[in-house]
């Protein structure tokens, strides 16, 4: 297993370099002049020239990349072009926010998706199965932003049950954190729950048709024991890797969810960064997300081995 992890890490390195080139290059392909955006309504030619020089915007792009990556390797992501704040500090400040949102959304998605998937699989072909599948389909189809705004209008404005927006850290005030997290986690977890439910259902169906399940039933085992002890554990394998790989979807969803609920996390940072042509912020944050994505892939592989003992020692 250690060998596998080491090999994976080695593969991750060129991936990271490629990602960094992409992130940097794509930004430069964006139309528009960052200096004009930074300067705003005060377009003093001297200041424009100074800013261009300061951020090396007139250098050839490979040189700009080299200057940036040299800093990044030393742990310095530069400063926000818009506010002057250190990008590393911003990442440290925003990462826990998005992680907290992602964790709540994932807990919600797993807590709803897995039981429903098992439930639907064991009642395959009945009206229960169709009802659950329909629900999952609507969960997948409802746009995040729409669901979010409707929830705010009903829960916060009409019934005043929960705060409409904002973020409180779990370590600061757990109760308040829970209150502010419920709606965003529901919105973000909603589509994930649907995906997880569908994967659990199909995986369960496959396992339930296996010979050993028939054997278990034949020797007169109690049905819940068959389902949960024998079938479920094996059906969980693909679900676990799907859940870790949904991390990407989680990040994409966080972008919208954070906008609606004014949660100051990565998503909001990226969106504002792109619109304001705040290159250093976008580069730093996207690189960070890419690292996270690679880490989640690695985690998926490790979890795969853990839940499936047959794979231990073979790779």
């Amino acid at each position: 297993m250690l060998e596998m992890i080491a090999r994976r890490l080695l593969i991750a390195l060129p991936t990271l370099i490629l990602v960094s080139i992409f992130v940097f290059g794509l930004q430069k392909l964006l139309p528009g002049d960052p200096v004009l955006v930074i300067a705003g309504e005060e377009r003093d030619p001297q200041v424009l020239a100074y800013l261009r020089e300061l951020y090396r915007f007139d250098d050839p792009i490979p040189l700009q990349y080299w200057a940036w990556i040299k800093q990044v390797v030393q742990g310095n992501f530069g400063a926000s072009l818009r506010t002057g704040a250190s990008v590393s500090a911003l990442i440290v400040q925003k990462l826990p926010v998005t992680l907290q949102l992602a964790a709540f959304a994932m807990i919600f998605a797993l807590g709803i998706g897995i039981p429903l998937g098992v439930f639907a699989a064991t009642r395959k072909g009945t009206w229960v199965d169709s009802a659950v599948s329909t629900m999952a389909l609507s969960g997948l189809s409802i746009p995040n932003f729409w669901l979010g705004i409707i929830l705010i209008l009903i829960v916060s404005v009409n019934f005043r049950l929960l705060p409409a927006s904002g973020f409180v850290s779990l370590w600061e005030d757990p109760w308040r954190a829970l209150q502010t997290m419920i709606m965003p986690a529901f919105v973000l977890g909603n589509a994930l729950a649907a995906t997880i439910m569908r994967h659990t259902r199909s995986s369960m169906l496959e396992v339930l048709s296996q010979d050993y399940v028939r054997t278990a039933r034949a020797k007169g085992l109690f049905e819940p024991a068959v389902v949960w002890k024998h079938a479920f554990r094996n059906a969980l394998i693909p679900v676990v890797s799907i859940a870790t790989l949904l991390f990407g979807e989680l990040m994409a969803g966080a972008v919208l969810t954070e906008q609606i609920f004014s949660i100051p996390g990565f998503g909001k940072l990226i969106v504002d960064g792109v619109f304001n042509r705040d290159y250093s912020v976008v580069q730093g944050v996207v690189l960070c997300v890419a690292v996270g994505f690679i880490a989640m892939n690695l985690l998926a592989d490790i979890l795969y081995v853990i839940v499936n003992p047959r794979l231990r020692g073979t790779r």
């Binding site: 964006l30 139309p31 528009g32 002049d33 960052p34 004009l36 955006v37 930074i38 300067a39 705003g40 309504e41 005060e42 377009r43 003093d44 030619p45 001297q46 200041v47 100074y50 800013l51 300061l54 926000s80 818009r82 506010t83 002057g84 704040a85 911003l90 400040q93 925003k94 709803i112 429903l116 659950v132 629900m135 705004i149 705010i152 209008l153 829960v155 916060s156 404005v157 019934f159 005043r160 049950l161 929960l162 705060p163 409409a164 927006s165 904002g166 209150q179 419920i182 529901f186 906008q259 609606i260 609920f261 004014s262 100051p264 909001k268 940072l269 504002d272 619109f275 304001n276 042509r277």
Partner: protein
């Protein structure tokens, strides 16, 4: 179905606890802003929302009244020498910065020099006419000007006149601004909130009722209003025009609006590269025809629910330079067609491309323009781009007509000089007229508003003919305040001033 009972139980449980959450003994005022401000350094800041925060954080030498008159703030009085080349400013006595330092002549000099010389200062052009800042004594400062400049006093009534504590200038100002305003900086969470708390030694502390002020950035207008309705905010700026009706009919909210200093208009490329070489860029009659084809009141009604007043000149009604004799023309399609005929262009529709930022409101604006101008013989195409791209295309001269907004300045010069004079920083259509340049530069040297007004009237005669910019609407600043809040007075500059405001219930 199985999902919802669980959720409902959870919400019911929360309801019980929400009611029990402790009421804060301190009074906190929460304002919802449309964007997150940029650098909180008055010499570098560039955003309207930044100025809103500065109004509580940093006092200025001079302030403006709701009628745009100059009134004392940190300066108690000022006198201009007869030759117009020096301005003597008397400073208010006993004013302290948030770190306890005294706000005196040396401090003012340090600030003005920083604003004038810092490499990336955004205040350089506003203060360009200052040759030197001399400290006469602890409470008197003398500005020596290279040439008479009437705009300087208004510049000192905005960010260029904000004073930072001298000791803080050496550190990262934007990270922790130390000023002398009624509230001092506590913390900033980027993209989320800026927290300020009462400054106990402020010279006017009795006028400020709140212990804490929190500015929260909530870009979505629907969500911002929802936060106010749910009690998570006490006030918001820039209500979406479409929500005006529902807010006005809501007894728990107060709607307050004021016509701003800024405008929405169409910049015509009259001289910036090959893109200017078309009937619209070449012939002022075509531009006049375009302007005549528009019903500005209908534009306002359709796009802004009638909240943006129609505009025909760059100076807002609150400005002394506004000329009420320049009447808003009625839409006249026949006359527009007549003008096109005189220009020999009535045979085929005239192609015009308007570029506009891809924001639903401004796209709707140009779509209505497209329909109206179409009836007068223009074939208008709309090129919608994202704002950063629009700016670049505009500066590079790759446009025929561009839909632009200007946030406005209290001094009339700020709304016009950079747009109308040859080489002006915002003159993206590269309009150039020697007489306009001369009159605009002369207007800067007259301190007497009535004299300046005469010069601006003369400029307007020319510009209203040439139409390098077709003005459409004045900006409106729509605020919503909780009905519990009293004493909010809107200013044409759109800045929220907290003095006199209080929570009554």
């Amino acid at each position: 179905m199985t999902r919802y009972p669980l959720l409902a139980t959870g919400l019911a449980a929360l309801l019980a606890c929400a009611a029990a959450s402790p009421a804060s003994a301190q009074s906190t005022f929460r304002i919802g802003l449309q964007e997150d401000p940029d650098a909180l350094d008055p010499h570098k800041g560039n955003t309207y929302v930044g100025r809103v925060v500065f109004a509580a954080l940093c006092d200025k030498l001079i302030d403006i009244s709701p009628k745009l008159e100059l009134v004392p703030q940190l300066a108690s009085s000022w006198t201009i020498s007869p030759d117009g080349l020096s301005i003597t400013i008397k400073l208010r006595a006993g004013v302290k910065f948030h770190d306890g330092e005294a706000m005196d002549g040396e401090a003012v000099k340090a600030n003005l020099d920083r604003a004038r010389t810092l490499a990336d200062s955004r205040r350089k052009s506003e203060l360009a006419s200052i040759a030197s800042v001399d400290v006469v004594d602890a409470s008197t400062i003398l500005l020596k000007l290279a040439k008479p400049d009437a705009t300087i006093l208004y510049a000192l009534s905005d960010r260029a006149g904000m004073m930072l504590a001298p000791k803080s200038l050496a550190s990262d100002v934007a990270a922790k601004p130390v000023c002398s305003g009624p509230y001092k900086f506590v913390e900033r969470v980027q993209n989320d909130r800026i927290v300020l708390e009462r400054f106990a030694d402020h010279w006017r502390k009795q006028d400020y009722a709140f212990d804490r002020v929190i500015y929260r950035a909530i870009p979505d207008t629907t969500v911002r209003l929802a936060n106010l309705r749910s009690g998570d905010l006490d006030m918001l700026e820039r209500l979406a025009p479409t929500d005006t009706k529902s807010v006005k009919s809501d007894a728990s909210l107060k709607y307050v609006e004021i016509t701003g200093l800024g405008y929405q208009g169409l910049t015509v490329n009259v001289g910036n590269g090959p893109a200017a070489d078309n009937p619209l860029g070449r012939d002022k009659r075509v531009r006049q025809a375009f302007s005549l084809s528009l019903d500005r009141q209908a534009l306002s009604d359709v796009v802004f629910e009638g909240t943006y007043p129609p505009a025909i000149q760059a100076f807002p009604p609150s400005s002394f330079a506004h000329n009420p004799d320049i009447k808003l023309p009625a839409r006249d399609v026949a006359k527009a067609r007549q003008l096109l005929k005189e220009a020999g262009l009535d045979k085929a529709p005239i192609d015009v491309e308007i570029q506009a930022a891809n924001n639903p409101v401004f796209l709707r604006l140009v779509e209505v323009v497209q329909a109206m101008a179409g009836e007068a013989g223009f074939n208008v195409k709309i090129r919608s781009t994202e704002f950063a791209t629009l700016l670049r295309e505009q500066v590079a001269g790759r446009f025929q007509m561009s839909s632009v907004g200007w946030s406005g300045r209290a001094d009339p010069d700020g709304n016009t000089h950079v747009f109308w004079t040859t080489g002006g920083g915002q003159n993206d259509g590269k309009y150039s007229n020697a007489e306009v340049d001369r009159l605009m530069n002369e207007a800067r040297t007259r301190y007497e508003p009535a004299e300046r007004r005469k010069l601006y009237d003369a400029v307007q005669k020319i510009v209203q003919e040439d139409l390098p910019i077709i003005y459409l609407l004045y900006w409106n600043w729509p605020y919503v305040v909780s009905a519990k809040v009293d004493g909010f007075v809107p200013y044409p500059d759109g800045i929220i001033r907290l003095n006199g405001m209080k929570i009554t219930r």
